[in-house]
């Protein structure tokens, strides 16, 4: 951008190449960051939702999320979030064996957790509908 258009050939080419790479990387970071931010706001609700299907231990919940297309690979771990849910009294826990394996810590919804899930889902739907109203009809032509 700061270079004169009539600069030397190799230098201009290198400059352009760097600019393109920087733009692509910046886009990747922004997109990845947005997904992380979006998930951060609702992952606790997703965990409460999969717990609502029945008690589960940590990895089991990850698998339930993945089965619905929500992979945490590249995102934060669910363990700190489970810790926070436990601390806030939104889940009940107990230890039990799992298919002959070592005892695992099972998480299930507490009454407080059920209420939090209900209000959180209502909030999510309201937000999603509002955002859809804004973004749902957007069509953008991108020229390279």
């Amino acid at each position: 951008m700061g270079r004169a258009p009539g600069g030397t050939g190799p230098a201009t080419s290198e400059h352009l190449r760097r600019k393109v790479v920087a733009t692509i990387m910046c886009g990747m970071v922004v997109m990845g960051g947005r997904r992380t931010q979006l998930l951060r706001g609702v992952l606790d609700l997703c965990l409460l939702a999969v717990m609502g299907e029945g008690p589960a231990y940590g990895y089991e919940m990850t698998k339930r999320l993945a089965a619905r297309g929500l992979s945490i690979v590249g995102e934060g771990s669910i363990y700190p979030l489970l810790g926070r849910l436990e601390r806030d009294g939104l889940v009940d826990t107990y230890r039990a064996g799992s298919n002959g394996g070592p005892p695992r810590k099972y998480y299930s919804l507490s009454e407080k957790g059920k209420r939090a899930l209900a209000s959180g889902v209502a909030e999510w739907r309201e937000t999603r509908d509002a955002v859809d109203t804004v973004l749902g009809l957007v069509t953008v032509e991108v020229t390279s």
């Binding site: 690979v73 934060g76 810790g83 926070r84 601390r87 695992r104």
Partner: protein, 192 residues
């Protein structure tokens, strides 16, 4: 992945997480990782991007659970607390010993003196103030009889109160994080 679990355990130990809690977290983590490995899944499936930084992962998990003692929030706070405890302990010890010595000798009718570089008054104890040297501004406070005993009692009291303060500073169990006080300083935002 046992190295990952070991690194987490080391971090929990450093943060002062109680051993039973650390053992429980380590066992859960090891079991989940073993199950993922048996199913051919990558550790990232269990840990997300936490797999790249065991220490941050361990710290954020323990912090979110509320099992990190408050004084472990930052190294600076920990060092400040330790320095305060040492200083308080030393002052308390000296005050207590001097107080005991004064009380021991005060009963035999001795006299205590405190020199000040500037003219001063200590009306509560009723000492007699005399100039150190007529040419100089300094004064000497002389404590007799009951005043000496009072001084000893005060110093002994200061020593005992200081000792209590030192124990409070040193005592880790007074600083357990309470529910609702989420500590943002240890947990890294990338781990939710």
């Amino acid at each position: 992945m046992s190295r990952f679990v070991d690194a987490c355990r080391k971090e929990w130990n450093r943060l002062g997480v109680p051993e039973p809690v650390a053992n429980e977290m380590a066992a859960d983590l090891a079991a989940d990782l073993a199950e993922a490995e048996a199913e051919g899944a990558a550790p990232e499936n269990v840990l997300g991007n936490g797999v790249f930084d065991a220490r941050s992962f361990a710290a954020s998990w323990a912090t979110a659970r509320g099992v990190v003692p408050r004084e472990h929030r930052t190294g600076m706070q920990r060092r400040w607390r330790a320095a305060m405890a040492v200083a308080s302990g030393a002052v308390s010890f000296v005050a207590g010993v001097v107080g005991l010595a004064i009380l021991g000798h005060g009963q035999q009718g001795s006299m205590a003196a405190v020199a000040f570089s500037k003219p001063t008054r200590v009306p509560l104890l009723g000492p007699r103030s005399v100039p150190i040297n007529p040419q100089l501004p300094g004064r000497l406070l002389l404590f007799h009889g009951g005043a000496v005993a009072a001084l000893g009692v005060i110093l002994l009291g200061v020593g005992l109160v200081g000792l209590g303060f030192t124990l409070w500073l040193w005592k880790p169990w007074t600083t357990w994080r309470r529910r609702g006080g989420f500590d943002e300083s240890v947990g890294l935002p990338s781990y939710l």
